[in-house]
């Protein structure tokens, strides 16, 4: 499986990462060798064992919704990089036109 530069570009765009041309070329080479190695899993065809070792106990782990005061709500707000009072400020979602 060989990745092309345009595929790397597309994946970077999907994952919202900017890459330099040097990084793209380096990643293309490195990811090729990693995918070649990882691709060996496609040799495995025995699916008879699938899900034959379920967790010891399967139970409903969902809990009823209840509002609990977090111990340090101010600490969470203080961690926000840009805020206006207790509101989070973000740039426009769409480019200004």
């Amino acid at each position: 499986m060989a990745l092309t530069i345009s595929e790397i570009d597309h994946l970077a765009k999907l994952t919202r990462i900017s890459l330099t041309n040097e990084e793209k070329e380096l990643f293309r080479t490195q990811l090729d060798s990693i995918l070649e190695y990882a691709g060996h899993i496609r040799e495995v065809h025995d699916t008879t064992a699938v899900s034959s070792h379920p967790p010891k106990s399967l139970e409903d782990i969902s809990e009823s919704d209840s509002i609990v005061q977090f111990s340090d709500a101010d600490g969470l707000v203080a961690a926000v990089p840009k805020r206006n009072g207790r509101s989070i400020e973000v740039p426009p979602v769409k480019d200004a036109t």
């Binding site: 900017s18 990811l31 060996h40 064992a49 070792h53 973000v90 740039p91």
Partner: protein, 483 residues
């Protein structure tokens, strides 16, 4: 011997009996860190004021005659991907450089509840992605046995801090070997509990289906003491398990009659013969302890590492999506939200993180997901099934922990695939959801070798018993690096 170099039992008893104070123990730990860490680089944050204040609180409680837990006054280091309230928690990433945790991880809280004192946050590969701690955005940790060598990773800071006796014990996290491999390379004990044994609440997620917190210590008993303090069901982590635990004293005693399986897939042509010999010598010790040893086979083992890396990168691509510059961490302004995301992530993530995000997005993408991510999950099931079947026939499996001793700084840094292969012996236990422990079992060129004992799910007691009996019969764990 300074009090911080005593065993956990000795420190805890000494503090309670007022032979020395928790403050004195913490002071001796901080002095050791001051003396050595400039050369080793194990710590990203030393919690000097906080730890002394916490130690004073323990001393005050003892003075008032209050009950103190099993870790009274024991200095513990915590890997910096684990939340410590009010203290910088970076995961060794620039994207969290100034992030201060607003709560304690459950494991940290449980340590504090038992009277332990957190003295600092240790270095790691960024978000746990690596096997040498060279992927830290801040510093390269050196192996105390040889400062030109890596300590292993990703819990390399915790392993180096324990090996250099800066702390008697530390917490690490293990996704594919990140506790056991650095423990092996630094000559200490490292335990990866069964997935679900220790709450992941407050552990910064890398691969949520595999990440697990565990202890590193200078002895099996100390590792067990730390494990028992942090293990158990936690309502804050619905993947934590409500399985019975056991008393610390139960790890002592005879292991006569236990059957050890030697998986032949771990002993292949081309492996380091000196490591093979160290493990075989260890098996002779077990035979003298009246254990039975037999060869077993887990044929799909060779697919564990490829399945692991597809799983890890897929989950990484999802888990890293939260770092967007909006709610916490680094934020680089842009003209639009999308530009802010891209610029923040470009500046905040290191190369290995970006590589894994890109590879994960590929493995999950339409047209490739069935061949990669879905297939990796099928392989995971098959491998799990094989290991569970083999472990019906034997009490535990024994293998080397690492295919090599500590390698030179920079030796594998530029070739990610070569670095990934460092995990080849540790990953199967994660993929099969089994507990595993690494204990020192030899030295090659004055560098430690680790022995891995793998057990059945939630049977940490058995592997701790095996490791404890081996440790009592040998003296490898008593060797210390000259600092």
């Amino acid at each position: 011997m300074p009090p911080n170099e005593l065993s956990i039992d000795e420190i805890s008893a000494g503090v309670r009996q007022k032979k020395f104070s928790a403050t004195e123990v913490v002071m001796s730990s901080l002095e050791r860190i001051d003396a050595l860490d400039e050369r080793i680089g194990a710590f990203l944050t030393v919690m000097r004021d906080e730890s002394l204040a916490d130690a004073k609180r323990v001393d005050d409680r003892i003075a008032r005659g209050e009950h103190i837990g099993s870790l009274a006054g024991v200095p513990v280091a915590v890997k910096d991907n684990t939340m410590t309230r009010g203290v910088r928690t970076t995961a060794a990433s620039k994207i969290l450089e100034h992030y201060v945790a607003s709560y304690d991880a459950t494991a940290v809280k449980r340590l504090r509840d038992e009277g332990a004192i957190i003295v600092g946050k240790t270095n790691l590969d960024e978000f746990g992605m690596g096997a040498s701690t060279e992927n830290s955005a801040y510093q390269k940790t050196k192996n105390p046995w040889n400062l030109e060598r890596v300590p292993g990773g990703s819990s390399g800071g915790s392993a180096a801090a324990v090996a250099a006796r800066m702390v008697p014990a530390a917490l690490g996290s293990d996704t594919g070997g990140s506790i056991r491999q650095p423990a092996a390379l630094c000559g200490v004990v490292g335990l990866k509990p069964t997935y679900g044994r220790v709450s992941r609440y407050g552990l910064i997620a890398m691969t949520s289906s595999l990440d697990q917190i565990g202890p590193l210590a200078t002895s099996v008993r100390d590792a067990a003491a730390l494990f028992l303090a942090v293990a158990g069901k936690d309502r804050q982590d619905t993947t934590s398990a409500d399985e019975p635990l056991f008393p610390l004293s139960s790890i002592e005693g005879s292991i006569a009659g236990k059957t050890i399986g030697i998986p032949k897939e771990f002993f292949v042509d081309g492996m380091d013969e000196r490591i093979r010999k160290s493990v075989y010598d260890a098996l002779d010790v077990f035979k003298k302890l009246s254990c039975k040893v037999r060869e077993v086979s887990v044929p799909h083992t060779k697919y564990a590492l490829p399945a692991y890396y597809i799983t890890v990168t897929s989950e990484v691509s999802a888990n890293m999506a939260r770092y967007d510059g909006v709610r916490y961490g680094l934020s680089i302004e842009g003209q639009s939200l999308d530009e802010m995301y891209r610029q923040t992530r470009e500046a905040g993530f290191g190369p290995e993180v970006k590589r894994r995000i890109i590879l994960g997005a590929f493995s999950l993408s339409k047209g490739h997901a069935d061949q990669y991510y879905q297939q990796a999950q099928r392989v995971r099931d098959i491998i799990g099934h094989e290991y569970h079947e083999v472990l019906k026939e034997v009490d535990c499996l024994i293998t080397p922990t690492s295919p090599s001793v500590a390698f030179t700084l920079g030796e594998k840094f530029s070739d990610p695939l070569t670095m990934y292969l460092c995990d080849i012996f540790t990953v199967p236990a994660n993929i099969a959801n089994l507990p595993a422990i690494s204990v020192p079992c030899g030295q090659i060129d004055e560098l430690p070798v680790g022995l891995q004992v793998i057990g059945r799910p939630f049977e940490e007691q058995t592997i701790l018993q095996m490791a404890q009996a081996y440790e009592q019969a040998t003296s490898w764990h008593l060797l210390k690096p000259e600092m």
